[in-house]
């Protein structure tokens, strides 16, 4: 909980999340969808809004939107239609955006999130399908819209299928807001319907936050430009504190839109809207209604993957993993899939051992790999081979970590890397005893002290033997031999 003050003021937060769908083509034309690239190269007369052109719905985008609405437990509309949202801004060449208004694809869903072991249910108002806008660059006047000399428009993004997911104002803290956005991102990733990259804008989060005494309604402040899950939390925490301070000082909060400035760690007020925009929504006459067939919906339901929260619960109940481990394993679909593949092909290691390798060792190796947890560069059977080698004693734990790092770097198998690099663990007692005797001969006082019950030189002796075996001695066998030889020589 972020709120440490007395509970005489209540925080109310609602989130609006936009996600670009991972289709091959745009919502209403066959232009490819992508990120970056030369400006105005993924455009055609339809997405440029040329007179006489007509939009045609992308069936994949409709399918993905329906899957999202289903995963969020929404009622799927038996009939939904598109509307035109009219506005004057050059980022849409048509001067309107095709969106949905009173008949969206899905309504009345919910999402369960967990914060510090507590579960919260956040209502989903609606999930609707629309098209993304183009991108503007403001030139002159420091690149700010108000002082710019002119603007440049790139319509590559214009028309990309975009789903808007609106939550109920059920969120009572910045921590729950972050958990909601994190859970939603995980669900979308599991569904395989979006890249959900906040830094590239394929997932964008806007928030409404108000603070007021219980039972009263506060003034809504909208926050934009939160480009990571961390900034969602930081921006809301800042804004919650700011509004509390204003109210405590006897002031009033102004209804406004504020921009999160990550560097300054502050929200800053944009121009205040005195009059709500009048978008003059009306039904899009160029598109026909969507009326999903019952059979098609049944088929989509069958195709729904296990959702992250269900997966975590299964890992805890069926495999006996801790909530922490289950939480790491379910954080991306690929990571959980990798764990399950590894567990299925492991011959010796159990669920706990495989899980430990993923949640501790692999996670730290993947930290250096971009998108590593979404796309881990190793297979489950390779991971199982490694975990088994350590479980069998063919590799020590630290040798295993070395091999794992190389597996991620090269994509080769564990056994192959261990053999090529000569990484192995020596458990042969004869060879290790020789090494111990040599170390004792070089350090005669060590044997004396250990025999007389002084355990201090034990670590030193272990170190000497490991050095002599080039780190390949099995530490368990070495320490057992030393004990048998000098400490309990029976």
């Amino acid at each position: 909980m972020s709120t440490t003050e007395a509970p005489d003021l209540v925080t109310t937060i609602g989130l609006e999340v936009h996600v670009e769908l991972k289709t091959s083509t745009k919502m209403f034309c066959g232009c490819p969808v992508g990120f970056g690239g030369e400006p105005n190269t993924r455009v055609c007369p339809v997405c440029l809004g040329h007179p006489g052109t007509l939009p045609t719905m992308n069936e994949k985008a409709v399918e993905y939107t329906t899957k999202i609405a289903m995963a969020l437990g929404c009622d799927i509309a038996p009939r939904s239609i598109f509307h035109r949202k009219n506005y004057f801004y050059p980022d849409m060449p048509k001067n309107y955006q095709i969106s949905q208004y009173d008949l969206p694809v899905g309504e009345r869903g919910s999402l369960e999130v967990e914060v510090d072991g507590e579960f919260y249910t956040v209502g989903i108002t609606r999930a609707h399908l629309e098209e993304d806008t183009g991108k503007s660059i403001h030139v002159g006047g420091g690149g700010r819209i108000h002082d710019a000399d002119y603007s440049l428009e790139d319509f590559n993004r214009a028309g990309t299928p975009l789903v808007e997911i609106v939550s109920e104002p059920d969120i009572t803290s910045p921590a729950i807001a972050r958990a909601y956005a994190t859970e939603l991102r995980a669900i979308l990733e599991y569904l395989g319907v979006s890249d959900v990259r906040m830094e590239e804008g394929s997932m964008r989060v806007d928030a409404n936050i108000s603070v007021a005494p219980p039972g009263e309604r506060g003034k809504k402040v909208e926050i934009k430009n939160m480009n990571s899950l961390r900034s969602v939390y930081r921006a809301l925490e800042y804004e919650e504190r700011r509004q509390r301070e204003v109210l405590r000082a006897g002031g009033t909060v102004t209804q406004s839109t504020r921009h999160w400035d990550e560097k300054a760690a502050k929200t800053k007020e944009l121009r205040t809207k005195e009059e709500a925009f009048d978008y003059r929504y009306f039904p899009e006459p160029d598109l026909v209604p969507l009326e999903p067939a019952v059979e098609w919906l049944r088929q989509l339901r069958e195709e729904q993957p296990e959702l992250p929260i269900e997966r975590a619960k299964r890992y805890e109940r069926k495999l006996g993993l801790t909530p922490y481990d289950a939480g790491v394993l379910r954080s991306t679909k690929a990571l959980g899939d990798l764990f399950e593949e590894a567990l299925a092909s492991a011959k010796k290691a159990d669920a706990k051992q495989v899980s430990n390798w993923v949640t501790n060792d692999l996670m730290s190796v993947l930290a250096a790999v971009p998108e590593g947890t979404k796309n881990p560069p190793l297979t489950g059977s390779n991971l199982a081979e490694l975990v088994d080698m350590v479980a069998e004693g063919a590799l020590s734990k630290s040798q295993g970590q070395q091999v794992l790092t190389k597996m991620v770097e090269t994509g080769l198998g564990a056994r192959e890397i261990a053999e090529e690099s000569g990484i192995k663990q020596v458990s042969d007692e004869g060879a290790l005893e020789e090494a111990i005797d040599a170390a004792l001969a070089a350090n005669p006082d060590v044997a004396e002290r250990l025999r007389s019950g002084d355990n201090k030189p034990f670590g030193f002796l272990m170190g000497e033997v490991m050095k002599a075996t080039k780190g390949q001695g099995n530490p368990k066998v070495v320490s057992g031999l030393i004990r048998r030889k000098l400490i309990h020589p029976d």
Binding site: C29, G30, A148, E153, K273, P289
Partner: protein, 98 residues
Amino acid sequence: MGIGREQVEHVAKLARLALTEEELTLFEGQLSAILEHANTVTNLDTEGVEPTSHSMPLMNVMRPDVIIPSIGAEAALANAPAAGDGHFRVPRILEEEG
């Protein structure tokens, strides 16, 4: 049922039309006449009739998610009144006046 002066001004503003006093008066009369004519429909009993957004009995007209090559930046910009750096160049954008 007519349309007031204020509504005509509001609609003109939304459409970014700068109208003179004479034009406002002219359109106030014309728009009122059109609305009054359309208003005769409200005399019909529509109890229990679903609002019609589309008059054709068509639905679910979709296309497969298959790429059709784009026309290229040069063709895209060919008709642009102004262009620069492969972009459409537009006049300074002013924020919405309250």
